[in-house]
Subunit: 196 residues, 2 copies
């Protein structure tokens, strides 16, 4: 197996929600502004102080973190473990591709919203700055395989989507199920496989 040189840092995504302007108004009150408390790996993205409760047909997950800034559509990203708890069956999707995905009820301090779609399992992906893409000889929407090396639980993630933008920082995003299966933690390094 031949690996591309220079490992890529892991960012583990816990369950979280992006809100549309309209849903933020309903959940937190008209004209409400999110309170950034922590910058995320990708420039401009932040964890907000705000949380909401997610109510599924089989269970509730309280205090799910809102990420900012607001987006065009509300999107809830959960792991399969979370999905079992809620009793929903979301598809694996790229961020933003929510058509026909699962619906759910969202409860905030000022109101609640029932979304018809927007619940997804995020497809694992690597964010790359344009310069990184040149270094790795990859382009936006390429699919690669990645080697994760953890004693006794080595794993190869196939179906890893490459996302390229001059606004992105180099980072491999997985959800908590994927991270726990591979015993990966934030800032661990993984390697793109050049050749099997």
């Amino acid at each position: 197996m031949k690996l591309k040189e220079k490992g890529i840092k892991v960012g583990v995504s816990n369950k979280h929600i992006h809100l549309s302007r309209k849903d933020l108004d309903i959940l937190f009150g008209d004209g409400y502004e999110l309170t950034p408390i922590k910058d995320l790996g990708q420039p401009g993205q932040y964890a907000a102080d705000e949380v909401v409760d997610i109510v599924g047909p089989k269970g509730t997950i309280p205090r799910v973190r809102v990420l900012g800034p607001v987006r065009k559509d509300t999107q809830l990203e959960v792991s399969k473990t979370d999905a079992f708890k809620l009793g929903v069956n979301p598809p694996v999707r790229d961020s933003g591709d929510i058509s026909g995905s699962e619906g759910i009820k969202i409860v905030g301090p000022k109101g609640e919203v029932e979304i018809k779609e927007g619940v997804i399992l995020a497809k694992r992906h690597i964010h790359m700055h344009t310069d990184d893409a040149a270094f790795y000889n990859l382009k936006d929407k390429d699919i690669v395989s990645v080697l994760s090396k953890t004693d006794g639980r080595n794993l190869i993630f196939q179906d890893v989507l490459i996302r390229v933008s001059d606004k992105y920082a180099l980072e491999f995003h997985v959800d908590t199920d994927e991270a726990n299966a591979a015993l990966l933690r934030n800032n661990d390094l993984i390697y793109i496989i050049e050749e099997f």
Copy 2:
């Protein structure tokens, strides 16, 4: 990539506990006998009606299923997700290899036990009858890689231990994190990789 023909059924192991005779006595009462309610994939193994509460430094997991029959040593098998909840850091181990693993408190209806070791993340493995091992041209303790094919989340599990006995039935055992990462369910088929 060349796969060995004939897929192998997946068995997903949820958190569970095996009890020693001594600990069963303390937790459920002297001379107590487990009540089998469901046969497992491996001949002679069963899920018992009995459950115990597991108390870790950070949290409790109630109603953890006891598997029978009793074993030489008490052994609690959890996922990394469970381990975070409990606040323990168990190593990846083959079943039975508990020396120096994590301790925990176990609470039953008649008493409680504090084990000094016995908490592990089970190392993924394939049980094979001797005839299957001959078919696949493998022997006990071999390590293989396995392909899991699920739309959008194809994954290769490396470090898969082969266990051979004329008392075993053919089955690939993973924990719930590994199953959820790959979107695998009981009785799905995976394939041993013969050559990359």
